[in-house]
């Protein structure tokens, strides 16, 4: 006989879901509203989507955001992987605990502080060595790399401790030099973790408003910055259309990342079983 589900738990679940998703649902519905006034229903239409695709401002902001996100994700993955390797594989070095703590500090640091300190750094550097001349895409990208690499490092480290060192030792034992071991064994096993890290860094960068606002300069507004400034000027229905598109993109991204993570989890269990670390 199936166990009776608690009505209480069920209603809590429904309430929670409603709380999370009704706002987004409203947004999606209103993005198809013909009326120019956001809160008045004027019939079904896709006119805001058309106007969205015609808006040069939005397109250039989107392109800027994507460019930053891709460069950021790539560099953060490279650097984060190196940091993760160091964390997981150097058995002991002076200041190891400090390093571990410091690499994860950006995860808990308020964004305002990260943004402000980076802004100060860029200004000081600009005065001292004349670089960066002006703030824009480069400074935003650098700022994003500094905090996303911490996330990547943590993912890589956990993946590496899951794999254990035995497989690398086995390769060494069979005559592979350390660099070879890295290419043949460590990196292939790390690939799912690196992909997950890349996707995470990519989304973090697309998402970021606070840090980007601090370190960007005139003429280089990322998509979140553009949306924010437009909303401040008054709601226009094309923003609803844009937001709907973003929701769609994020949903797809989350689904892919989730799928990779689940696969990675299974793989890790399998590897751990083989490596005997569990």
């Amino acid at each position: 006989m199936p166990k009776k589900r608690s009505t209480f738990l069920l209603s809590v679940l429904c309430f929670g879901m409603a709380f999370l998703y009704i706002p987004m649902f409203l947004l999606i519905v209103y993005s198809f509203n013909y009326s120019k006034i956001v809160s008045v229903w004027g019939g079904l239409s896709t006119r805001w989507y058309t106007s969205l695709f015609e808006s040069e401002e939005i397109w250039s902001a989107l392109m800027l955001s994507l460019k930053i996100a891709i460069v950021n994700a790539t560099f953060a993955t490279l650097l984060g992987t190196l940091a993760g390797l160091a964390l997981a594989r150097f058995r002991y070095f002076r200041g190891r605990t400090l390093f571990t703590g410091m690499i994860s500090a950006p995860l808990v640091m308020p964004e305002v502080i990260t943004g402000l300190s980076l802004l100060l750094l860029f200004i000081t550097l600009g005065d001292l060595i004349g670089w960066p001349e002006k703030r824009g895409i480069t400074t935003i990208t650098i700022a994003h790399i500094t905090f996303s690499l911490a996330y990547v490092a943590v993912i890589i480290e956990s993946r590496l401790s899951g794999i254990g060192e035995t497989l690398e030792e086995a390769a060494l034992d069979l005559g592979a030099k350390p660099l070879r071991v890295m290419m043949d064994i460590t990196l292939p096993l790390l690939a799912p973790g690196m992909l997950a890290g890349w996707l995470l860094a990519f989304t973090l960068s697309l998402d970021d408003l606070v840090i980007a606002s601090f370190v960007s300069g005139p003429g280089s507004s990322t998509l979140p910055m553009l949306i924010y400034s437009r909303v401040k000027l008054g709601l226009k229905p094309d923003i609803n259309a844009l937001a709907t598109m973003i929701i769609l993109a994020v949903a797809i991204g989350v689904l892919i990342a989730g799928w990779i993570l689940i696969r990675q989890q299974k793989q890790r269990q399998r590897d751990a079983q083989l490596a005997g670390t569990e």
Partner: protein, 380 residues
Amino acid sequence: MPSQERDAFLDRPWKDSTAEPFIRIEGVTKRFGTFTAVEAVSLDIYKGELFSLLGGSGCGKTTLLRMLAGFEEPTAGHIYIDGVDMIDVPAYARPVNMMFQSYALFPHMSVEDNVAYGLKRDGVSKAEISQRVADMLSMVELLELQKRKPHQLSGGQRQRVALARALVKRPKLLLLDEPLAALDKRLREQTQFELMNIQDQLGVTFIVVTHDQEEAMTLSTRIAVMDHGQIIQVGEPSEVYERPQTKDIANFIGTINMFDGEVMSSNDSFLLRCPKISKPLKLPSQAELNIGQQVTLAIRPEKIKMTLEDPHDSLQITLRGEVLEFAYMGNISIYRVKIEGEVVLQITIPNLDRMAERKIEWDDQVFISWHPENSLVLRD
């Protein structure tokens, strides 16, 4: 040396003082911080041996093995393999291969690629690689599974892939870390004999780390018993079993009954006065003893006879006892017998007859006896 004697040494080079050891471990110590994992170990191992390092967990056997493989550097001492000092030779350049306890098969490579990996690193030609991999896989009877990934194999199959991968490079020395620990009992026994056959066929020197004394006894030419980072006895399995040097070794390898007491003399022999037993026990004649010395008399359970009638044999030690419990194991029965002074002895009796007239059972009054030369004198 007469040639006859030489021949006798062929199988047992460790008995020949002129034989050159293949592996020489010289005063090797390994410390991790303040913890000493291996302390001043010296050991000679000869070509073609199947040598076991036996000990409980944390005794340093695995650390010693890892130093031979080159994964750990000794804090002090030297390791020579085939006359070459290994101190500055990195793991990937040593003529040594290892079979890991967990097998450490590369999960993203097929069976075939796993086995071929070491040969590819050595720059062996493609044709030769595929030939040698196929030979090795057919030896371990896995040729038809060569395209599979490790996670598609059973435990026993993985173990054989690991063995093939370690042997395909024809190493001078194969290190095996608990090679049978992950297998079930039936497979373990079968694999034990396979390992011995392979070792015999290829003539590779094997060093096996194990905590399983039975495994060590069956497999090895010689056993080194380790405890707290030190080697406490080295010898052939029968030596270690029949002549353990300390109480710890006697207890660790098999089961043994012990009586503590003081040495006294009577006529031409030494006796042991055991405070719990009224009758002094005769000690074996070879032992070097002094009167008044505190020693332990030890006797293996299978060397004790148990009868319902008094054997009336003056050459044997005979005691009376009562059966507390017994366990029927099929081939043998294990009895626990209480003798005077609340001393409980373990005795194993082979079940020689299927239809014995009178089996010894609970609460039976019995006579137990043994020949003093079958007992041992142990010190702490």
